[in-house]
Amino acid sequence: MALLEIRNLHVSVEGTEVLKGVDLTLDAGKVHAIMGPNGGGKSTLAKVLVGDEAYEITEGEVLYNGEDILELPPEERARMGIFLGFQYPVEIPGVSNTYFLKAAVNAIRKHHGQDEMDAMDFLQLVKERAKRVKLDESLLQRPVNDGFSGGEKKRNEIFHMSVLEPKLCILDETDSGLDIDALRIVSDGVNAMRSEERGFLVITHYQRLLDYIVPDVVHVFVDGRIVKTGDKELAKQLEVEGYAAFEAAAA
């Protein structure tokens, strides 16, 4: 059974159809990359997968481990192991990064019938994971993303992911705004988490990320659809040729 199976997904926002029949199958252990021009609907797909109620699903199914998740609220999906690293992480003044994560970890543990995590163990885990993505420790006590630089926000998303240890990791342009060092650190963070039981859906505009996080499958996403699927060579081809050929085909 696939980790994630998207079947003929149609989604509208404010009366306009944004996703026009998406099909995608992601097996555990695999990394899929999604590339495509601005406004094609990549972030929409990511947000629909984690349950953003702003979007109206008009047709199709999304199965996670064989279970239809489209009726589930975002928190349920998160507890089942679905994670989205946001393209634009949200600032939350007044809520400390650490305590927010602690509430998240414990909500997830509770869902799996586990006890709350011991405060000391939690602190240790958090520090270790922060180090892994070279997140400055001072950012742990700061309010979530509040006043973080663009790069810090992205790193914070990867940090959250490495603490929460989800099964399906969706990363929406986590590489945008990162310099080459940060890109390497973030990629290392992701690669450290690659495993047989975990799947990644990595949305990006740039081939260079895929030099670090080598994908098993590459999808070209244009105008609400996947118009071509291939291996990592496809990403290289896109880098050279651009999306023009696909955009013409989609129109």
């Binding site: 975002p74 999906r77 998160a78 939350i92 007044g94 927010f100």
Partner: protein
Amino acid sequence: MEAVAQKTSAYFDEFGSRQQAGGQWCADLQRQGIEAFERQGFPGPREEAWRKTNLKPVTDTHFRLAEGQGAAPQGLVARLNEVGDCYRLTFVDGRFVADLSDLAGLPNGLTVTPFSEYKAQAPDRLVAALGSRASVDSHPFVALNTAFFVDGAYVHVARSARIEKPVAITHIITADANGQAVYPRLVVEAEEDAEVRIIERFIGDNETTTLVCPVSELSAAAASILDYSRLQQDGSNTINIGTVNLASQRNTSLRGAFVADGAKLARLDLIADLEGEGGEIDCNGIYLTDERQFSDFHTWFNHRVPNCYSRQRFKGILQGRSETVFDGLVKVFEGAQKTDAVQENRNLVLGKRAFAHSNPRLEIFADDVKCTHGSTVGELDEEALFYLRTRGISVESATGMLTLAFAGEIVDMFRVPAVRDHVRDVLMHRLGVADINVGAIL
């Protein structure tokens, strides 16, 4: 022809027929109170300052002075400990109760006395202070309180005395006061260079409809520090209409922490007078309403002299179908140059049918001043809510976190640690997040 009897108010008649209650020493003042009330009457709906406050529950009934004194139930007595270790003065249904008070070991320089201790005579300085700030002609409810108070709390801090442990004055309303009125009164005087923390608190039975009408006058002499916390946590059927006067002198630091959480109808008129150069009055407040509660803060901050500093930061959190008013004035008098005044009112409307009125006002008669005001009424940030939920946090917890974060900015400003902790507890209880570990996010 028969003489037509002049129509007098029920309160006037009650005053005439009642036993002398407040002690001989204040008999004249009480008479002035009822006369002033008779001249003014209750405010009408067309009076600008009262337009949004529905006084019908007050004016439709005659609330007679609570004559007896109910026994405070254990549940309410236990709450006396919620604000930590204090010198404690406790009143039940308006009257002092020695058994619930604790004035052991008062340090030198601190006087804490219930008015009822004074019979024929009271200290001159109390007689002089009482009513000097809250004048009977300025406000009908001040007049009413002045006519009817039967007891009160007098706190005096001598020159250069530094009192660290707070003085808590608690008013408990019991079921025995149902349908009746209670008139709490507080006078606080901090002499030059003194320092003191005062907590005034209102709690009571939830089923009881009582008119609580408190008047508090606090004045801080030059270079003193006065910290005042007012926690209105009355029972849910109570009406609390009160006034607070704060007055600062040269280089005084006067801080106020205001919480309005209880009562079905609550209004506080806060008058702050900056009367000495270099004085500072810094007030932070939070109001929490649910169901059909109504809560109203009216403020008048008067910069009467140059070089003073004032802050008003009030936040509201509205649930259910509740309604709130914040109407605040900063007035800079002629010649009060270099005034630095900030007024902020922010409201978080959680209830779909809740409604927050926010009305900041500036009246400035000097040209070299720094005055700003801000006012917002908004809902929870949907994006933030969604973000938290995508990390596994429930809607309830996420709402609680965001709301606590909103309130935290104010609560953090409260200076008395026990008050700060207590208000956090109140918030968490209110928001139904007491079971999750979000308290520490504040």
